[in-house]
Amino acid sequence: MNWDAGLPLLIVATSLFSGLMIFFLSEKHVVARTTLNLGGAVFKLVLVGVMIWGVFHGHHYEARLPLLPGLDLLLRADAESMLFVVLSSGLWLVTTIYAIGYLEGSPHRSRFFGFFSLCVTATVGVALAGNLITFVLFYELLTLSTYPLIVHRETEVARRAGRTYLIYTITGGALLLVGTVWLYSMTGTLEFAHRGFVAGLLDTHRVSLIVVFVLLVAGLGVKAALVPLHGWLPQAMVAPAPVSALLHAVAVVKAGAFGIVRVVDDVYGVEATTKLGVSGPLAALAAVTIIYGSLRALFQDDLKRRLAFSTVSQVSYIVLGIAIIGPIATTGGLVHLVHQGVMKITLFFCAGNLAETLGIHKVSEMNGVGRRMPWTMAAFTIGALGMIGVPPLAGFVTKWYLGVGALDAGQEWVVYILAGSSLLNAGYFLPVLYAVWFKPAPDSWPDERSFGRFETSWALLAPPVVTALLTLAVGLLASAPFSPLQWARFITTLEYMP
Amino acid sequence: MSAVLLYALTGAGLFTLGLYALIIHAHLLRKILAINVMGSGVFLILVALGGRTAGAVPDVVPHAMVITGIVVAVSATALALALVLRVQAATGRAELPEEPLE
């Protein structure tokens, strides 16, 4: 096996290996477990760095394992996968550090970190999948490895959330599978290609192609939490905060959104998607989701629930950008994959810190907390402002590109959606920020714990600060080479330019 | 109608008669008897149709098959009878419960 085939495998295997090893560690082996966790995460990041360097220098990374005659498991590094791989492996490292701090002293940590690593393995697999069946494989693995994380607390509520999650995702997986097989029985190939691989069937199999598109998007829409398939996401917030971060920012919803990107760009191709007339309904669905999620978020007092509905709304920006069909909007959608990740993970880290340090779970309990935990709340503020779309933060870049892209594609209605959504975002974040910074603090917090020198333990504090800085950086440095924006533009070029 | 066919048709009759009794009767001993009647029917068909050769010597292969079949049937019946006794000892009835135990 040569290096170009080995590297994608190795990137997937680092977390798989450390995950499997962790299962066999007893609870007491904290050092060994932490070493494996961080070692795996850092090593993976290094390998991803090598891969970026390689892709830049014209290496073609591709690993094949025959699955069935004519059908391979295919891991391949292309422009889109690099975007998602960098996001997931980078945020994984941050989340791992956070989770180590968060779960310190709690039971079943070996099980937790084992599945945690499997979850990231699956996500990286989703990112690197070079064809639809490989995508399906890792997509299902993601379902299976997140379930134990959601029910980790083993309470009745957690188990109910886990059950809901499974009902949604397994059904979604089944639809995705049917769509995939159906597509394969028509095309005889499933390999992702710029501009898709169904063009030859547009005249003969029009109805089938539309049905397959609906099946695929429905299957992926469950994880991407498109309305009305979003029901599992707010429930799943009972999971520990690092898991929420993983679900909302790194892995699950992203896998769904990324899958829709793949289907539109690399399975059907934008041309076929437009010709089949499915892009309009998809954009409409995304728009409905954006507004609906924001409206629901407005009325949640539980902080994590509010953030969850915010995710429902924000992830659909990605879908919207793709469905508008136009190079600029697509760039906006793709870049939001990264932007939403860093912003939302910051917010969830902060919510976790509030819960862990002060026992705060509700928005109504957050009065004046900015003075008690300035660093955390500063990070939170950056994340929230980014979500609203305040320049020069990450969210602004996204919304700018989406808006300009929509105008460019002649779909003015999208601008109204964006404006409405931004107003709603402001509606559910600004009151929180106001309460945090300007309202007087209560005499005592619900359940305060002392962590000595800092406002909370360093492992809990460093991750949100880092991701908040990232939120700032990707917005400020959007036009720098290798920024997510530039990368997204590069991908769009491949998709749209002749 | 030749004697061969008469025997064979009788065998078919025995087979269906046994099947009827097997379904209708609840007592296990009757069920076992019914299965043996069915078996006799099958053996009768097997042997009788061997007599369709032109000469006086019948086809002996079915005869050997029937001997094998009989030994198998005897073995199964022996096991079944022993089981009936144990079922009766364990449940007090030589019948199968209406619904499978759950």
Partner: protein, 486 residues
């Protein structure tokens, strides 16, 4: 030096092992394990020969069909033998820890006789000889169920025996009709001579009915759940993994060789019954409150999938069905073993009271979950490959409606598997009196479960074995695929 007749060895070795176990009850373990390993070696030997020389025919006694009995080994038989050897080895290791001495001295000879019967069945090319092997298999299976003792097991064994006897007689009557119509009981000769006639129709009906009864196809499955649930755990594993598959194998052979020109209607009927089995078995499994009954009903459902290939009839569909059969054998054996461990550990198998098994019996729980992945048909597992092939075959044949049972069955399976897993993740703190479970029992279950998973990653290898002797006819689908790609 002439060739070693591995076929004969495969039949005689476990037979000799059984006799040795019977004669020296104190040495059952030794003889049992030697036989298990020996059979593994013989399967490897036969496989090697088949790979080198193609399908093999062996005339017992040197007579040859139609006068004598032939043994025949092609890819289909080989895969059945391999899976039997794998599951058999797992069950053998598992039962070391499971049985106490008093039961062990009866279990080992019976199990080895059952193994011998299975091997003989998969190798036979003669429909009357198949009848004898079927009876040997059936009686050994009944005896093994009864080994558990107690009213439940005894009544289940009784029902099972009656069903077996009835089914065998139906089959034998079919054999009689075929023999007297065409003058042979050799499958290959019959395949050449057979032509549509009332006797062939009657024979097909009778033999199929008998074999369907033994394969527990809905609605003829009524005997299976009590028998498989009340047997000792290793026996449940054998019954669900292998014994029901044996009669399915014969049915498959008959449909492929002797009754191929029977038209579409019977195939469609079997497909409908299979779909009904998938749904009914899944719903029933979901309703169960006891773990072993849940797994037994899951077998009813999973057997239904196998029959979905009959209406499709393409070689790709047959292979998919066979692939599901193989992975189900491994996964279900692992699952019953895991259930046996839980039963031993907790002293009961009520699903609602599986307090904290996930923490206290982790290896078993992992085995159960991994096997569950294959049962549900999630990737990467053998179950997924099999389902994929059936889905693809159905869509290619334009019979898209078979997709519905395939998908709904998977969802139902996910529901009942995760019902069990969900109960294992509880905080119930009640520590009841628990029994120790030997390591060998836990790891045997895990090994088989992992094998089912592995089957999802090495599909090309079993699929290429299926080509030996072309038991499923030419690979027309592959040809189409190649044509499309070029």
């Amino acid at each position: 030096m002439q060739q070693i007749p591995w076929e004969v060895m495969l039949i005689l070795l476990p037979l000799a092992g059984a006799m040795a176990c019977f004669l020296w009850p104190r040495r059952t373990l030794l003889f049992g394990l030697i036989s298990a390993l020996g059979v593994g070696g013989c399967v490897a030997g036969l496989g090697w020969r088949l790979l080198e020389q193609g399908a093999q025919r062996y005339a017992v006694g040197g007579w040859g069909a139609p006068l004598g009995i032939d043994l025949y080994a092609d890819g289909l038989s080989l895969l059945m033998l391999i899976i039997t050897a794998l599951v058999g080895l797992g069950v053998s290791i598992y039962s070391i820890g499971y049985f106490e001495r008093r039961q062990a001295i009866l279990f080992w000879p019976l199990w080895l006789l059952l193994w011998s019967a299975l091997n003989a069945l998969f190798l036979s090319a003669d429909i009357f000889n198949l009848y004898v092997t079927l009876e040997l298999l059936g009686l050994a299976a009944v005896a093994l169920v009864a080994l558990a003792g107690g009213a439940n097991a005894l009544t289940a064994a009784m029902r099972y025996l009656l069903v077996n006897m009835l089914a065998s007689l139906c089959y034998l009557l079919g054999v009689a009709l075929l023999y007297h119509n065409f003058g042979s009981v050799d499958i290959a000769i019959l395949a050449q001579r057979v032509e549509a006639s009332p006797a062939v129709w009657a024979a097909m009906g009778l033999m199929s009915a008998g074999l369907l009864l033994k394969s527990a196809l809905f609605p003829l499955h009524f005997w299976l759940p009590p028998a498989h649930a009340s047997a000792p755990a290793p026996v449940s594993a054998l019954l669900s993994a292998l014994v029901v598959k044996a009669s399915f194998y014969i049915l498959l052979r008959l449909w492929l060789e002797i009754f191929p020109q029977t038209g579409a209607a019977p195939g469609q009927l079997l497909g409908v019954l299979g779909a009904a089995a998938v749904l009914w078995g899944g719903i029933q499994a979901l309703r169960q409150t006891r773990l072993k009954l849940l797994i037994a009903y899951s077998t009813v459902a999973q057997l239904g999938y196998l029959f979905l290939a009959f209406p499709l009839g393409s070689s790709f569909a047959w292979k998919g069905s066979l692939y599901l059969l193989l992975s189900h054998a491994l996964a279900k054996a692992a699952m019953f073993m895991a259930a046996g461990n839980i039963l031993r550990f907790c002293g009961h198998d009520r699903i609602a009271d599986l307090d904290r098994v996930a923490q206290r019996l982790p290896v078993t729980m992992i085995a159960f979950s991994v096997a569950g992945v294959s049962i549900v048909g999630l990737p990467p597992s053998g179950g997924f490959i099999g389902k994929w092939m059936l889905l693809e075959a159905a869509l290619r044949a334009g019979q898209w409606w078979w997709v519905i049972p395939l998908i709904l069955g998977g969802l139902l399976a996910a529901a009942y598997i995760f019902k069990v897993i969900g109960y294992a993740f509880t905080q119930a703190g009640v520590l009841r009196q628990t029994n120790k479970v030997p390591m060998s029992m836990e790891w045997a279950a895990l090994a088989l479960a992992l094998a089912a998973l592995l089957l999802g990653l090495v599909a090309l290898w079993p699929l290429s074995l299926m080509e030996i002797g072309l038991p499923f006819g030419g690979s027309e689908v592959d040809a189409i695929q190649r044509a499309e790609q070029s």
